[in-house]
């Protein structure tokens, strides 16, 4: 059990509390340019250890570098290969670099003040590959606590915490575990890390930033249920998460935290492996996921029987989301009583939310269940960009709905959001402003869903396609007002008659936008107008008299659709124009408008 050797943990504690430079190197950080920054810091020979960490959540500030020097801490934002030189000089001269400084401590920032970071407590703080750092901050105390109880008592503790699954369905975790605990023979635990919802990346964040938390949670689950084999199913589109998780699993095996007789407890065996998905949204649905692991087409099956009865290879199986497993580690670390103080009457604990879209501060946050959406979007997220107006927030991805401004006092919780025709889902919240067209959003989601439909059941297979076609027509201004009623009836039919969650929820975006934004549908049909100028068939780009004839737009037009002489007003050939918007973006004189 080398990970628990005192010297290793003491060394990690010293690493974490001493002088240290960290660079956020999860996917967001790397996509913003963190790698050359990290390399430059390593080469600079500053005499302070430079370490990679995961994602601290404030993606809008990536790449993020934290510097602890002579006991003082500074967190720098948007550090790129262009300005890292200046930062390195400041560090060398033991000075603070004021132009890049974001804060001294994250709790100074509005983005963090209202958060409650339990699942994300280590994200962006520890090196995700260092088990000793995870343990130094309290990691694996949960498993150690769990091992002092009997499996039955452990399940009671999870039940007492009130934990509900974080994948979207919100089923009580303790109850799910008890279904398989009673059974004898082979049982499986699955971690659903497919995270197919566009707009959701909270699972990716934990997998890349604190993988041991998930592994620990599953080990706790294994002890509670008597399962000896687990699989983490994660999407192939997350290569860094897969790599990080695999390294963590290998380390856990080397340190007797996986495999046989875990932590010296005779008979407590748990094998864990990763299974990659292959690009199918429907495989986030548990029965489709099981089919995928078994090497088949990801076609869902009717339930009952539920996986707890007959799951992977026909054996009792518990499938829980990445977030749920991470919460299990937290619960066993702090105790069910402390956990259940946070949240609402029906739903305990915290929820990670991904804030994206037309919002000032994008990233992944963790808040107590029950926080009003208004606070999440405006206090934490900073609201919509200046000069624009909030229109709606999309909650729950393609299975969810839109929440308009009038409903922003709604608390973040399963049932209140369902009552609005949306869902909390995985927790992805995409914010829209007046520049967004709600009909176009409905079209987009229907395109997604009909593409991802597995094709097994007729209501979903045919219904999603027809809904997509009808809404597409509306975005082109084609159709009659009566079509809206046809759409509503078909949407309800798909919802009430589909085999699995994909089909049952596919129509939510349509029904939701019809409920709150019917006027936009009517405007497209009656006036043949898209007031947000998003529906390309109903808008065009025009060059106004502000044009000075610089020719920049013509130069950038990918289809050579702009004509004009130098210093004369240019003209767009509407037949050739593909409405890509490049001219609109490059015009320095704001001479191009959308009509």
């Amino acid at each position: 059990m080398t990970a628990f050797e005192k010297s290793g943990i003491e060394k990690a504690k010293a690493e974490l509390s001493g002088d240290r430079i960290t660079v956020g190197m999860a996917t967001c950080g790397i996509s913003a340019g963190a790698l050359p920054v990290f390399e430059a810091l390593q080469k600079a020979g500053l005499g302070i250890p430079v370490e990679k960490v995961g994602c601290i959540g404030m993606c809008y500030n990536e790449p993020i570098v934290s510097v602890k020097q002579q006991g003082k801490k500074a967190i720098y934002a948007k550090v790129t290969s262009q300005n890292i030189g200046a930062l390195i000089e400041c560090i060398r001269n033991k000075k603070e670099c004021s132009e890049l400084l974001a804060c001294h401590d994250i709790m100074e920032l509005d983005f963090y003040k209202k958060q409650k970071r339990w699942v994300m407590e280590n994200c962006g703080i520890i090196n995700p590959e260092k088990l000793e750092q995870y343990i130094a901050l309290g990691g694996y105390s949960g498993l150690q606590n769990a091992l002092t109880l009997s499996p039955k008592q452990l399940i009671e503790e999870i039940k007492k915490s009130g934990l509900r699954g974080r994948g979207g369905a919100g089923f009580f975790t303790g109850m799910k575990w008890s279904f398989i605990a009673d059974k004898s023979g082979k049982k499986y635990l699955v971690c659903n890390g497919d995270e197919g919802d566009p707009g959701a990346f909270m699972n990716r964040t934990v997998m890349e930033s604190d993988p041991f938390k998930i592994i620990e949670g599953m080990a706790i689950g294994a002890f509670a249920t008597g399962s000896d084999e687990g699989i983490i199913y994660t999407r192939a589109e997350y290569p860094l998460a897969i790599e990080t998780l695999q390294k963590a699993i290998d380390t856990a095996y080397k340190n007797n935290l996986l495999g046989k007789d875990i932590l010296g407890v005779k008979g407590f065996n748990f094998e864990l492996r990763i299974q990659k998905g292959a690009g199918a949204f429907v495989c986030g649905e548990e029965t489709a996921l099981i089919a995928s692991v078994e090497g088949k087409r990801g076609m869902p099956k009717p339930r009952p029987p539920y996986p707890a009865e007959k799951g992977l290879y026909g054996k009792p199986t518990v499938i829980n989301n990445v977030g749920t497993w991470a919460n299990v580690s937290t619960i066993m670390k702090i105790g069910a009583s402390a956990y259940s103080i946070v949240g609402t009457e029906k739903t305990k604990g915290t929820k990670e939310i991904c804030l994206t879209g037309k919002i000032m501060r994008t990233g992944v946050v963790e808040v107590p269940i029950g926080m009003p959406l208004k606070e999440i979007i405006f206090d934490i997220g900073g609201g919509v960009p200046e000069g624009t107006e909030f229109k709606a927030v999309l909650s729950g991805g393609p299975a969810g709905g839109c929440i308009p401004a009038s409903q922003l006092d709604t608390p973040l919780d399963f049932e209140p959001l369902q009552a609005l025709g949306a869902i909390m889902g995985s927790g992805g919240m995409v914010v829209l402003n007046n520049e967004s067209c709600m009909v176009e959003i409905a079209r987009y989601f229907m395109f997604f869903t009909q593409q991802e439909s597995c094709g097994k059941c007729t209501p979903c297979r045919e219904g999603t396609k027809r809904l997509f076609e009808m809404i597409s027509s509306i975005t082109r201004g084609i159709g009659k007002e009566e079509d809206i009623e046809k759409i509503r009836l078909l949407a309800e039919f798909v919802r009430d008659n589909s085999l699995c969650g994909l089909g049952q929820n596919a129509a939510n975006p349509v029904l939701s936008t019809l409920r709150f934004f019917r006027g936009e549908y009517l405007m497209h049909l009656r006036d043949k107008q898209c007031h947000a100028k998003q529906c390309t068939a109903l808008m065009k780009y025009l060059i106004t008299e502000k044009c000075v004839g610089c020719g920049n737009c013509a130069k950038h037009c990918p289809v050579q659709a702009i004509y004009g002489k130098l210093r004369e007003r240019h003209l767009i050939d509407q037949e050739k124009c593909i409405k890509c918007g490049t001219c609109f973006e490059v015009c320095a004189f704001k001479a191009i408008t959308k009509e």
């Binding site: 967001c28 589109e237 690009g279 037309k358």
Partner: protein, 112 residues
């Protein structure tokens, strides 16, 4: 595929069914570089569809195709999970975020 099915001892139609179900399994050889532009919700809101049109013109191929010199395959993917840095794309496992047409042009020119 028939050969593979035979060696696995399963009907070819079953193998074909699985291979065509998942978007990450390709039935044609991909280019040296595979550009996957994300069409997730956050990227869509930030006009990923316009970026795709722009890239198609630049590369001279449509989504799902490979350039004639076999260098670049172009496709869209449903979510890379880089939503906070939308619009995003992935090239051979590396994610590029906050794309503009200029950045995209630079990156693509760099691959050619």
């Amino acid at each position: 595929m028939e050969k593979l099915a035979k060696s696995l001892g399963i009907p070819a139609v079953e193998l074909f069914g699985v291979a065509t179900f998942y978007t990450q399994f390709r039935l044609t050889k991909p280019g040296k570089y595979t550009i996957s532009v994300c069409t997730g919700t956050a990227c869509h809101i930030k006009n990923s569809s316009l970026l795709i049109k722009f890239a198609e013109e630049l590369l001279g191929i449509k989504r799902g195709q490979t350039t004639s010199d076999g260098k670049i395959s172009f496709e869209s993917v449903n979510c890379l999970g880089a939503c906070a840095k939308a619009p995003a794309m992935m090239i051979n496992g590396t994610v590029f975020g906050e794309l503009t047409k200029t950045k995209m042009k630079e990156i693509i020119e760099g691959l050619k």
